[in-house]
Symmetry: C2
């Protein structure tokens, strides 16, 4: 029995990206200014249509590369690339005024980047503090993001906050080699709290497989030189890092 195309409705499918990084001790998200008609001129999450022969994750990686120049290391490999995972799918009938669009949102965790945007033209992309975007009232400081992107961003930030609790994913915000203090500042920025440096050090160095000491090398950031580590193979963190006030 062949299938009648009129049997089922037709959808457009997009990928939207919640790209997070830690800059100047704050969790920041990447926004782009829309140059096209729905919500033209407003800020939005990067993203675009999925092509006809393209995997969802490939589409997300392609959009990420096009809009930021970032490469992702797909599976199990560590560093020299951003972490990418599927976040959730948003398909409310009215979310795009043009037509029925289902958006598969993805979450990207990246180390701090030198230029705000390597791929797009300047002024059309920027890092914005997550607390500023999600903060006070329900909308944000400016007119709010295009489409339902404010909600997608909130979901992405919440996913990142909860995921570093029980996984070693916080290292995705750090360069390939980092110190315990740098990792701690990632947790502090993402959670918006202060952590005791002594207890944090004891916890992360005492969890087997979490941190691997790179050659006794050191670096500076102020005081006494610190050991350099890279992320270990352990992706699950047990017992989890406990978020204070939880």
């Amino acid at each position: 029995m062949p299938y009648d195309p009129s049997e089922y409705p037709s959808f457009a499918v997009t990928v939207d990206l919640v790209v997070l990084t830690v800059r100047r001790h704050a969790l920041c998200a990447l926004l782009v200014r829309r140059g096209e008609d729905p919500y033209r001129g407003q800020w939005a999450l990067p993203g675009g249509f999925v092509r006809a022969d393209e995997d969802l994750e490939s589409a997300a990686a392609r959009e990420l590369a096009e809009e930021t120049g970032l490469r992702t290391q797909d599976a199990g490999s560590w560093h020299a690339g951003a972490h990418l995972e599927q976040l959730a799918t948003y398909g409310e009938p009215g979310r795009d005024p043009r037509m029925r669009v289902v958006s598969v949102a993805h979450l990207v965790l990246a180390p701090d980047l030198p230029s705000p945007t390597a791929g797009g033209d300047a002024g059309s992309a920027q890092w914005r503090s997550a607390s500023e975007l999600l903060g006070g009232a329900g909308g944000g400081t400016d007119e709010g993001l295009a489409f339902d992107h404010a909600r997608i961003l909130a979901d992405g930030v919440e996913r990142a906050r909860s995921k570093i609790e029980y996984s070693s994913l916080a290292a995705a915000f750090c360069p390939p080699e980092f110190t315990v203090g740098e990792l701690r500042r990632v947790y502090e920025a993402v959670w918006g709290v202060s952590l005791d440096p002594r207890n944090f050090h004891r916890k992360v160095t005492g969890t087997p497989g979490f941190l691997v000491p790179v050659g006794g090398t050191t670096t500076r950031q102020g005081g006494r030189p610190a050991q350099l580590f890279r992320a270990g193979g352990a992706s699950a963190l047990n017992p989890p890092m406990l978020r204070p006030e939880g």
Copy 2:
């Protein structure tokens, strides 16, 4: 600038359901036999096409009601309904031989049901043990599920296993009122382990907001009568229930 429909490819969007329950001390998933052409006669997850004016979650709830008669209590409300949440989205180009289909999988946790299927005809649906379906070799005992449903099922089971760890969601597998022992048997079935009844009792009754004692009522299941509880408002469980051997 109006949009040219040829600019973006057209997709069909479906919802697939991973419906889990606990029967006879085993985690079971609901399967339906396909009556239509791709994979006709094979077992598959329940699901269907999303309608043109329908929310994704509404589509999932509708398919669930059509195929099982189960009602879901959407948000924040407890009991007399199954728990439904979005799981993940699968959109590999070749996953459906007919055309490009993106499937938004949902996870449903339901208490044990009297009849295998209330909605469909007999013999076209059945509960199958999850460990049997996912067990030994990569495929399962029979020829395997249609489409990529084996992977979706595996993702759903893994989500359920990890989610009852840090949420009170295990109560979704229980009837509205249940005993501590019944709840423990849910954990044991989903995780496939044995838990110490004494320590489990201390843990769940000691977590504020997790269990609310219903009138001093009791029931039986063998030995001394047990107190009846219903799920409390607390959805997050902190500190989490620790899965043994982790």
